[in-house]
Symmetry: C2
Subunit: 328 residues, 2 copies
């Protein structure tokens, strides 16, 4: 039976499992998602990114089979496969145009994957998948227009419009690569002053280290030694203990983030702006000032702003659940 | 016959005219658009923005009747009405939440208009209408994902996604109000450093005047006297005649605009970024450096960028034609 007929057949039988895969630089994670958006089984294997790409794709299929075995279903009972990767994706053709963390360039991922598991495959950016996951099962459940910002080593972004991922052309949704301060700090992308160079965890750590160098009496000094290096939690912890140097770092970081969020409120006027990444452990310490800021500074002010800034809920599972929600 | 039945009736008879209205601070313009997206007749009357809003709405209907008379059709033969206004619009409910140029606040425009002409009415931001007009009949014909930037007194924006206007929530698509240089020049919206405060015609004029004050020997001095004041054309003309002061102003302006355009390429990866407004008379002097810039600095570089920057084609008619293309 060919792929289309099989899809129709599964649909008619109302089989209701879908597969989501998170293809990262370190691990391949796969999960089986049911119609209630529950992740009923997962499996994980190391990516070992250095080997030939065909071997990695074969192991992606193997990881799916392991997850399906745990769920006690056959892979053939599943409707579709979604794959998320933090790269530049040609989602229409299922191609990874460029992915830094696995050093792939123009890899026909969907085509190759189907040699192993013959189901409809959709490939998307991992932040898009995470945004979709939060919409179907997380902090933005039921929302139509949602922006997700992932604050990690870099700043990634996902765009949901009318309940669907906005893929744009090849690439797109690079929400970390719009200017916060044009001509400012050098960004990893080659431009100067992108949001990523001010709002990533990397930027927060850079600012904390610079402040510490100027104010070696800051509480952050001892905390850094104890932690074996600076991290994004230290400035928040020190600030809450009353350390002024850390307080200034945190205030500046929140202001930069507030400017970035206000931009996306003005551009998209979404129902929700979601934040994810390690710094989001700060919870209301982060969302409260951001919500106040957008009501003050977004276009039209409090009268017209009905966006809420929230912390994403599903953590690493968001990407798998979201990837499973592409029907293609 | 009620509105829904009349709509169905018109549809069944395959009547094929739609009405577009451009409600500006100075003039009300109305046009009749046929199925080939031709503007077959137009009419215009002064807005006289100071009077009670109900009178303005009555004159909008009258302007439509004048256009229909010129086209030799009855208003009742038309399928729908679209209205564009440069304000914050609640398009779902047909309400103008706030419009600076006619001093309206929470005006139920669609509801009031239907008292005069009982057809389906859709209200949207004027830049959204212009973007839609260019997609159905202008420089972005047939494109699915398009960004329009209007470079005038301010910087407005329209977003087309999957061939449809993206309305967002109330407001949205305020593409002129994302940061180019956070903390920079004070913007009309109350924030500092928005794209509008660097890329509007107003900003270009400000920069030209400031440069002239520092370099009174610039060619721009005589040109300004002759024109009765600075305008956005003078620095371009003087630069082309070899004036260095003007050349620096133009280079800086184009760089700021290039940064803004690159942002929207990274966020949306659209097929086309359209520019409209007086400064666009510069044509290729503007689009050539912008197209070069995005290929160099957009995320992923020339390999992944398939966006083209173009000048909008339809001028003031874009808004009317676009407004006529909402089916609601």
């Amino acid at each position: 039976m060919n792929r289309v007929l099989k899809g129709i057949d599964n649909f008619m039988k109302q089989k209701s499992y879908r597969i989501g895969i998170d293809l990262g630089g370190t691990n391949i994670k796969a999960g089986i998602v049911d119609d209630d958006q529950q992740l009923i089984a997962t499996a994980s294997n190391p990516t070992k990114a250095d080997r030939p790409w065909q071997e990695i794709v074969a192991d992606m299929a193997e990881t799916v089979r392991q997850a399906a075995a745990k769920a006690d279903i056959s892979v053939e009972a599943c409707r579709s496969v979604g794959i998320g990767n933090p790269g530049v994706i040609d989602s229409e053709n299922g191609i990874i145009v460029y992915s830094n963390n696995i050093s792939w360039k123009n890899i026909p991922l969907a085509q190759e994957f189907r040699k192993h598991i013959d189901l409809p495959v959709h490939v998307s950016n991992d932040a898009n998948c995470a945004a979709m996951g939060e919409v179907v099962a997380g902090a933005a459940r039921g929302c139509k227009n949602v922006i997700l910002l992932t604050l990690g080593t870099g700043v990634g972004g996902g765009i949901i419009i009318n309940g669907q991922v906005y893929e744009g052309g090849i690439g797109g949704a690079e929400l970390g690569h719009a200017t916060l301060i044009a001509g400012g700090k050098l960004c990893t992308c080659g431009r100067r002053g992108c949001i990523e160079s001010y709002c990533s965890a990397t930027a927060l750590i850079r600012e904390a280290d610079e402040a510490l160098a100027k104010h070696p009496d800051s509480m952050m000094a001892a905390m850094k030694v104890q932690a074996g290096g600076m991290n994004g939690k230290i400035p928040f912890d020190a600030a809450q203990s009353g350390d002024e140097t850390a307080g200034a770092v945190v205030s500046q970081y929140i202001e930069w983030l507030a400017e970035a969020v206000t931009n996306y409120v003005n551009i998209f006027r979404p129902e929700v702006v979601l934040l994810s990444g390690g710094v989001c452990a700060q919870g209301e310490n982060l969302t409260k000032p951001l919500n106040e800021y957008i009501r003050k500074f977004a276009f039209g002010g409090a009268q017209t702003v009905n966006t809420t800034v929230k912390i994403a809920q599903l953590g690493n599972n968001a990407g798998i659940i979201g990837a499973a929600n592409f029907w293609k």
